[in-house]
């Protein structure tokens, strides 16, 4: 109960016009603080409830979460969220749900899928960083070129620690799997093999 109250308070704080305006004043704050914070709130909310989802429902939740994140990373979506209050609220709500969906689905997702997702996330952070650092034209109408550059350099800085964290988590996950089911560890990695 206390956790839910804390989450509601967090959501209320993030929704305050002054806080929202502070995020909106810089592209790096929107992309690296506002969006992850809303997802984190959703993840915390989902973890406070016991759920027993089927594998199918978990994968559907995972696809929903990835779709929502990808949608709000589109420059056009970011522009609309900065210019229309309704779209801004929709962004907050959908990222909250995406965070909740990730928290519910990831523990049930096969290790190989989680490894692929982690690797994909690290490479996308690097690719987005390169893109924003090197692209000459303005991508988001709501921001400016300098802010694009700042965001790109932060994404590049984040790539190394993120990849390191992913590698540590991957090694730990594989080791744990091998300890529990020595045969399953190999089998999990060979999904799709005849």
């Amino acid at each position: 109960m206390k956790r839910l109250i804390a989450i509601a308070a967090g959501a209320a704080l993030l929704s305050l016009p002054a806080v929202d305006a502070w995020f909106a004043s810089a592209m790096v704050r929107v992309m690296l603080l506002e969006l992850p914070l809303w997802a984190l709130l959703g993840a915390l909310a989902a973890r406070s409830r016991r759920t027993s989802w089927s594998l199918s429902a978990s994968l559907a939740a995972l696809v929903f979460a990835l779709g929502a994140i990808a949608f709000w990373l589109l420059p056009r979506s970011l522009d609309v969220a900065q210019s229309e209050a309704g779209a801004d609220h929709l962004m907050h709500a959908s990222l909250f749900l995406a965070g909740a969906a990730l928290a519910v689905s990831l523990p049930r997702t096969p290790l190989t899928v989680r490894l692929a997702l982690g690797l994909y996330t690290c490479s996308m952070v690097f690719a987005m960083g390169m893109f924003y650092v090197s692209f000459d034209a303005l991508v988001c109408g709501a921001f400016d070129r300098r802010q694009q550059l700042v965001l790109g350099s932060w994404l590049l800085r984040l790539t190394a620690p993120l990849t390191l964290a992913f590698l540590i988590a991957a090694v730990r996950g594989l080791s744990r799997l091998e300890e529990v089911h020595p045969a399953a560890a190999g089998a999990t990695l060979e999904v799709g093999a005849p």
Binding site: F71, L74, V139, D144
Partner: protein, 199 residues
């Protein structure tokens, strides 16, 4: 068994693909600038009425049928970033098209900010008082709907900066937008596209 497990994720994936296709107009427009360009429709298309006042105080319609082509460039006078570069490029383009400008082609810089007409003259003179290049502003103030119909995305930021599309719109004497030129194209290619559009 596997197919049943995948059914729900595939339905969600299909839903996201449908949303993505709708939002990006068939996966063509990922930025607001591109979305405005695509939403305006393919060329040739009728140009919207561009009721403007120029640097001499004359009022005319840059989108209406007339005796020559108009090459319309969105800009605003206090722009400190992209517009000065775009206007310098337009000046170079004008020098390369002296056989067309001003008899067959008029360059039209159009303010997206509703700059007062009296401020256009000094800037026009500062750019060399080119008789084939008009600096204009909407006669009745900023007109976002008309700019959108032309294909120009405009975002007015809280700090007063206006981010806007920089495409060049070639309007023929029949009042049709016959070409939309990427502002980042090399000037030689812009010139080539204009020449190929003007018989």
């Amino acid at each position: 068994m596997r197919a049943r497990v995948l059914l729900a994720p595939l339905v969600v994936l299909a839903a996201w693909l449908a949303v993505g296709a709708w939002w990006t107009q068939g996966f063509q427009a990922f930025t607001s600038f591109a979305a405005a360009r695509v939403a305006a429709g393919p060329t040739p298309r009728p140009a919207p009425a561009l009721d403007v006042i120029d640097e001499h105080g004359a009022r005319w319609d840059a989108g209406a049928p007339g005796d020559r082509y108009n090459l319309v460039q969105p800009m605003y006078l206090s722009c400190a970033t992209a517009c000065p570069i775009a206007m310098s490029r337009l000046s170079v383009l004008s020098e390369r098209l002296t056989d067309l400008v001003p008899e067959r082609l008029r360059l039209v810089s159009l303010s997206v900010a509703g700059d007062p007409p009296e401020q256009l003259g000094p800037r026009w003179r500062a750019h060399g008082a080119n008789p084939g290049w008009s600096l204009t502003t909407f006669a009745d103030g900023p007109d976002a709907a008309t700019l959108r119909a032309l294909g120009v995305y405009v975002f007015v930021r809280e700090d007063g900066v206006i981010n806007h599309g920089l495409d060049l719109y070639l309007i023929d004497p029949a009042g049709l937008v016959v070409a939309v030129l990427d502002p980042d194209l090399p000037i030689e290619q812009q010139e080539e596209r204009i020449r190929s559009a003007i018989p």
